[in-house]
Symmetry: C2
DNA sequence: CGCCTCTTTGACTAGGGTCAAAAGTGGTGG
DNA sequence: CCACCACTTTTGACCCTAGTCAAAGAGGCG
């Protein structure tokens, strides 16, 4: 273990919790415009609250309101719940990302920690109301929503039309891009989520996910170390298994 | 046929094409703030172009740019294309709705007409650039994106975790809400899309969709008239078959 | 009215789910 | 430092839902 690109994902004993102002400062640096007045920043700060969520715990939220959550540290999943406790992970989130958690409708949504996480929570209505006349903040929210929409559409394609192997290959490619790092000269991922989380994200069972890991391993497309470690010797080769469109005009 | 709530979906011989200014005026009324100056409106108008697309035809777009498309009349589908010409419909759109069509990435997207449609096309970059300092326009775009994201997440849940029957039931409930009307005292839908479109939207085959129509018909949850007509005597009963979360605290 | 397409139904297959058990992981305490 | 233990992951055997292939039946436009 020479270097870790995403140290904020690690659970470590010495990980000091951030104070609320530190968390907010981090959020503001990324998602609020740089030239915002101190007074305006304080108004946004007044809307937020910090929440620490431990592994597999759901963030407590008012079910009847939309929320905006900023991930300071850790890793989270947004889970949609249908009848018969069938769950679908509709997205994973990593530090510095912003998530919109919808209110309960035909289905309910919970934001759950995949690793112990520090979160900053806003009421969506309050936040957009305060931002209603601030184009820079609105643009930031719009970009966030567009990114989520794009990932969600890719997921629809995977869930609707791809085989189990393609889904796992695509998932690992996406994770490599988002939280991968180079170790010993090889692209590596330290997966923060369990096989169950992956299964619930890909619309499969844990057994099928496990079998597909074996398939990709036997194809020489990846090596696994322990439960979480994945090494990808050839990202292009893995992409080719993901059912992506072949390069054409 | 006593009344039709969504006459704009009908293909009719006498349907006169709208002129570009008429189309734009309709778009502006819905998606631009009422108090926008004439000069500003003209700047937006200068960015748009009208396009008429016939049934099953794809809107011609620059593949390497995002687009914003307003549906004036007809009905469209946004289709994601994976390898081996497997297609996934990621959304349907009806008059007065706004769609974001993403540029080609790992997969490509096309916007195709399900009925002959009149569309208003904008380059997404140009549009947001012009709107960059207009909070009202940005809020409108944000609302549009949030609605699409919400529908897309519901679709992920359906594709990942629901049975064929639940998917069709949920689809018909959603269509009833979006384009249904009351005829002879019964909730009715005149489906603008083919069985293939429905299958591509639900991640099924046309045969399975057809079989599920038969299942719901035999359960007394719907009646079909011709290829497109669906009557829903009891919406609540159909919802109960859609795998929605049962009403709880 | 007739033809062509779309939809429905039927028979069979296969990919992934289910149930069960073995193997591996990693944390804890002796 | 290692052995134990609870839990997660992997593997195996079998099953079921939806896919595939094929053919019959309806619709609707000319």
């Amino acid at each position: 273990m020479i270097e870790i690109n995403a140290p904020q994902l690690r659970e470590s004993h010495e990980a000091r919790m951030m104070t609320f102002p530190e968390q907010f400062e981090r959020f503001a640096r990324i998602h609020l415009p740089a030239n915002l007045s101190d007074a305006a920043i304080l108004r946004f700060q007044a809307l937020g609250r910090a929440a620490a969520v431990s592994r597999e715990e759901a963030l407590a939220l008012n079910l009847h309101a939309d929320h905006l959550v900023f991930v300071c540290s850790g890793a989270t999943k947004l889970v949609a719940h249908a009848s018969d406790r069938r769950d679908q992970v509709v997205g994973f989130h990593f530090p510095d990302e912003l998530v919109v958690v919808p209110a309960r409708a035909e289905h309910s949504y919970t934001l759950e920690a995949v690793r112990p996480s520090e979160l900053l929570v806003f009421d969506y209505r309050d936040f957009t109301e305060l931002a209603r006349s601030d184009p820079a903040v609105l643009r930031s929210l719009l970009e966030c929503a567009r990114g989520s929409l794009s990932r969600s559409r890719e997921k629809s394609l995977a869930l609707g039309r791809k085989t189990a192997t393609e889904r796992l290959a695509g998932f690992l490619v996406a994770m490599a891009v988002r939280i991968g790092s180079i170790r010993d000269g090889t692209l590596s991922i330290d997966l923060p989520m369990s096989r169950r989380d992956i299964a619930d994200s890909l619309g499969l069972t844990i057994e099928t996910v496990s079998r597909q890991f074996s398939v990709l391993r036997e194809l020489g497309l990846l090596e696994t170390t322990g439960k979480a470690g994945v090494r990808i010797p050839d990202l292009r080769a893995l992409e080719a298994r993901a059912g992506y469109l072949t390069e054409a005009a």
